[in-house]
Symmetry: C2
Subunit: 334 residues, 2 copies
């Protein structure tokens, strides 16, 4: 939330921006988000794609001149709720070093993919194409723990286990950053994560008309020449109607069968459960819907400060430490 | 080549099968490959998608009842040659263990993605979603080298560095197999490679009407009940026309700019070159087109044996050890 508030204050995000959707072909949409909120742009784009896929079976929509759009999977989930299959991609601020490189040129560029199932919750993959997110480095830094090799590199492009150093380098732009999925070099196929990050950037940045590579969502770097620049983030959505391929119930039965075959398959001796993507998160969401969303003191304090900064009153059910209308307390925090 | 010849001999591949393409929507194709050659099915599908994308900007086509279709990137390359952007996916025989699992339930399920550039060669990513291909284990086994941890698991689902043991287990179906991209467990995000493999299987297997999971291309296992089964491999192709999004030259210029920014960026101190996907392969192809394709004695002998088995005469330029019509000799072999 903080990044959106400061984005609006600093003028990088324009609330109420007039967004414009062009349709150069029946099943293709091109949205100019006019530097508005990424969530508003993402919502507009996925809704158009959902309606178009319902009518024509298939839709692709790109978004340019946007901002950070939040959770990639959120948009794919909206399509799944309408019994559609969806891909949601976005590029993002540079944090990732290409294979053999020493400078960040790619974002954590996530891939979200969702498909509806029947008895089982929907399949919902939502993954950064980096080996770990920035937040993981921050946790290791706070706890002063050494990172495993293969997560990040220093300013020379060498493997670096010091999270604090990598984060400092990222802030000061002295080189180094997070590694793509597969780690450094070729041993664990880091060029695959690097390739996936590039694929996302080609679809979200190059194809949409947005910024790409090191220029995405990096207003400070981009404005160094004195010219005012916007984050210019790009998104890409693909929506398909499985009922054009086979009866919807058959598709869902087949999804259930695939999921069950994974869930029921033999576990590693030290493991109890094979998970399918989205399963843990849907289970957690169900609990939180029941008992409320636990908010740590740190989060509540940050929200209060943000609210005060923009003269908004905090609703009592947020201020209490548990985000639930009837204010029930729960023991565990996450 | 051997697998196709034996597939035809054993009746799992039907040469000359009558394939049937349905179009449930203007931009959606559904091909029934009728257990014919995967290459023939793949070609038919991508050609339909290319023509459709040229006409309508976008096309998706699924293929069911197919066989191993060779190189995923080959089909994406055909679209790129027509200035289109393409994704090519296929599921494949089970070799990969899901995160926390001990049995193979997924293929190496590759993702190929290609986009045309201008001055630079096209971007062409073609990657298995496993951490390494089976061939890598075979090399380590032949050389009696210990594999790094994180490539494969034994029959208990534990990390295994003995390539021979993993390969033996795979053949004898006693459990274990190759790990998804990201390795075992959560430390290097193996659930991401597992999720990508599942995404490919949902699009190629579930959505197409083909086999999925452990049933793909596994005629022996599938026929254990006595019933004759076909490999029933599935493919998925997506083709888009970038000229619907912006003028083609602008798209290519932007691709060139992104590629140049990667090529020109700072290298790790121990590296000389940052590669872009496809670059190495296009350079090698150009050399081989000039001097011929070097064939090792082992490959030539295998081809000769295959040819004799089906009473086909080997052309002299293949038999010579270098596959070139004018029969020039070259020094290096690969």
């Amino acid at each position: 939330l903080g990044r959106y508030v400061s984005g609006i204050k600093e003028g990088h995000i324009i609330p109420g921006a007039k967004m414009r959707l062009l349709t150069p072909a029946t099943t293709i949409g091109v949205l100019d988000a006019a530097n508005g909120l990424g969530q508003v742009a993402g919502d507009m784009a996925i809704h158009w794609a959902i309606q178009t896929a319902k009518q024509h079976g298939l839709a692709v929509v790109t978004v340019k001149n946007s901002n950070h759009y939040g959770i990639a999977g959120y948009y794919a989930e909206q399509a799944v709720a309408q019994n559609l299959v969806a891909i949601s991609l976005t590029n993002s601020a540079p944090l990732v070093v290409p294979t053999n490189g020493a400078d960040v040129l790619l974002g954590t560029n996530p891939i979200a993919f969702a498909a509806p199932a029947g008895k089982h919750p929907a399949f919902l993959l939502d993954m950064a194409t980096s080996v770990v997110p920035r937040g993981k480095l921050e946790v290791y830094d706070r706890n002063r723990r050494e990172m495993p090799g293969g997560w990040a590199v220093d300013e020379h492009g060498y493997d670096c286990k010091n999270a604090g150093q990598v984060l400092k380098n990222l802030i000061e732009r002295t080189g180094g950053g997070i590694l793509p999925l597969g780690g450094r070099g070729e041993l664990f196929s880091g060029y695959k994560g690097y390739g996936l990050a590039l694929m996302v950037d080609i679809l979200c940045g190059v194809l949409s008309g947005s910024a790409y590579g090191a220029d995405v969502d990096d207003v400070h770097r981009a404005s160094e020449g004195g010219e005012k620049r916007f984050p210019n983030v790009g998104h890409f959505f693909l929506v398909m109607d499985p009922s054009r391929f086979m009866p919807l119930e058959e598709f869902k039965d087949r999804m259930d069968d695939l999921i069950a075959s994974l869930k029921n398959s033999r576990k590693a001796l030290d493991q109890h459960t094979i998970f399918v993507h989205g399963e843990k998160e849907f289970a957690k969401a169900a609990v939180h819907r029941e008992v409320g969303v636990p908010l740590s003191e740190v989060v509540t304090a940050a929200l209060r400060k943000l609210a005060q900064g923009v003269s908004v009153e905090m609703p009592p059910f947020v201020a209490s430490g548990v985000c639930r209308r009837d204010n029930a307390k729960i023991a565990s925090e996450d």
